[in-house]
Amino acid sequence: MRPGREAEYTDYIQGRLPSLRRVAYLLCQDWQRADDLVQTAITRLYTHWGRARNAASIDAYARTILIRTFLAERRSAWTRRVTLFSAYPELPGAADADPDTRLDVRAALASLPPRQRATLVLRFYCDLPVDETAAELGCTPGTVKSQTAKGLSALRRALDPVPAEEK
């Protein structure tokens, strides 16, 4: 890569690293795995920088790589065989956050299949419309809609296991 592009790439990554890490964390629920995921994704982004820099949105291109790396990793035999212990101590949340809610949401999110989780993160954390979510996931808008509905339903069940009529 030419030196100018190297600098362009480095500047871009340094500027976007915090947001890429947060998206990866929501996907993985584990900061170490999130960092591994981001490391792999930004390496792939480097090798595709020629195309990424000419894309309509570099952010979308980078996020697509991140999401697909996550989904590919989930599909691999390695992650099906290996379950990492979740014993790494979590750092406390921001002072004004409700720790119980955070833990509940993370647990609920972790219980979703990877593709549903990725769909919800793109739709509601990254605030992407259905068609852009579909483009980043490499599926049809119809699939995004159905995955969103299933994911929301599962999330509701996980967060509020008692049906409303029984309350």
Partner: protein, 399 residues
């Protein structure tokens, strides 16, 4: 319409992401170095092999280089390509599966050598890419032909329906992605779509096998997409309709790695360039399926000061093949590996940069089969350089 539940989920997700972040373990410099290594095998740096061939061609009256660049296509083909009944699931990287059967006047694959717009020309197990440039027009044609089932397309009807409904659809392939934005006229009788609003065309050249051809500006002359026009579309369709599949012409390499690859390893990629109508291998990438770029050997001409970069690891010098090799061992967790790099005069050229990279998994566990090779130094011991005469070059660099 957004429901209250969706709004609540949005709030909850933002809340869930608000843990205090631990310090980042992401190493941008390591990503850059590792990505750079991966590009070595496929980027279109001006390669020594092509330059040697160029020198040889120039030395021959009426040499291999044609004065009509459009005639520098590797082999003669039918004017319009025939439909392919079945594309392979996996290509042979040493024999590029597809080629331009015809190029417009002013375009040449030879002229594309060294132009850094895309990722360089590569023959891999999952795809073949080719480039042809027209420097005078500042234009570059990029062709990528993917093996069967390498692109995520449900059915052509689905693609057509999604374009009608949403205006575009992104198609992900194993090693690339393209965005289809409209239905194009058939290519050789096969369904086709415009990509990026007409600066490219993608077509299903065989059942479940896709190719994409795009036209862009050459870096330095803007590097941006070419504005779509009727002339651009006509040119794309004409070139696409003449792409040749199932080529049998092998690459020629100026180096050989003696002995077999370890069990479970295979050759995944070869970088190559076209000069004087011949295809010269510029690098190979091999490894086990868990790390397909474990071993990377590439050769490129040095245009400036010696281009060996230790990358911050522990370095020493090793003497072999008449030159001093910079031997570097990196132990940064995200970039564990060994690199050998030398700059040597070959065939009267000022300097040739030969780089060999051998990755180790970040876990520190030995890569399956790497012990058999004896690490990068073991590979170096098996490396033979075949000299500047293309007559001595071989088509199987690993045997």
């Amino acid at each position: 319409m957004e429901t209250l539940d969706e709004h609540a989920v949005r709030t909850l997700l933002h809340e869930a992401a608000r843990t205090l972040e631990p310090p980042s373990a992401v190493d941008v410099e390591a990503a850059r170095r590792r990505g750079s290594r991966q590009l070595l095998a496929r980027r279109a740096a001006l390669p020594v092999l092509a330059v040697v061939a160029l020198a040889a061609a120039l030395a021959v009256p009426g040499g291999l280089l044609s004065s009509h660049p459009e005639r520098t296509v590797a082999s003669p083909h039918q004017p319009v390509s025939s439909p392919v009944v079945n594309a392979p699931w996996q290509f042979n990287p040493l024999v590029p599966y597809a080629s331009f059967g015809w190029l417009p006047p002013g375009y040449s694959e030879s002229l594309a050598n060294g132009i850094d717009v895309n990722q360089g020309v590569t023959s891999a197990t999952d795809f073949v890419s080719r480039e042809a440039a027209a420097p005078a027009a500042g234009r570059l044609l990029y062709l990528q032909v993917n093996a069967r089932d390498m692109c995520a397309v449900n059915t052509v009807a689905d693609l057509q329906a999604n374009i009608r409904t949403h205006g575009q659809e992104q198609v992900a392939c194993l090693d690339a992605a393209f965005t289809v934005t409209g239905v194009a006229p058939d290519v050789s009788g096969q369904p086709a779509f415009w990509t990026d609003h007409g600066s490219g065309v993608a077509w299903e050249y065989a059942p479940d096998a896709w190719a994409e051809l795009s036209l862009s500006g050459i870096a330095g002359a803007g590097g941006k997409a070419v504005p779509p026009s009727a002339a651009t579309r006509a040119l794309l369709l004409k070139v696409a309709g003449r792409v040749a599949y199932g080529d049998t012409t092998p690459l020629t390499f100026a180096f050989r790695l003696s002995g077999e690859l370890p069990a479970g390893w295979q050759l995944w990629r070869a970088g190559f360039d076209v000069s004087g109508g011949r295809m010269f291998g510029t690098g190979i990438t091999a490894g086990p399926s868990v790390d397909t770029s474990a071993l990377n050997i590439s050769a490129s001409i040095v245009t400036g000061p010696a281009g060996c970069d230790s990358g911050g690891g522990r370095s020493s010098y090793v003497s072999r093949l008449g030159v001093q090799w910079l031997y570097t061992v990196n132990s940064v967790p995200s970039n564990v590996g060994q690199q050998l790099c030398a700059t040597a005069p070959v065939g009267g050229l000022p300097g040739v940069n030969i780089t060999m990279v051998m990755n180790n998994p970040a876990s520190g566990a030995p890569l399956p089969g790497s012990a058999q090779l004896g690490g990068a130094l073991g590979v170096l011991g098996r490396l033979l350089l075949l000299g500047p005469d293309p007559a001595a070059w071989i088509t199987n660099p690993v045997n």
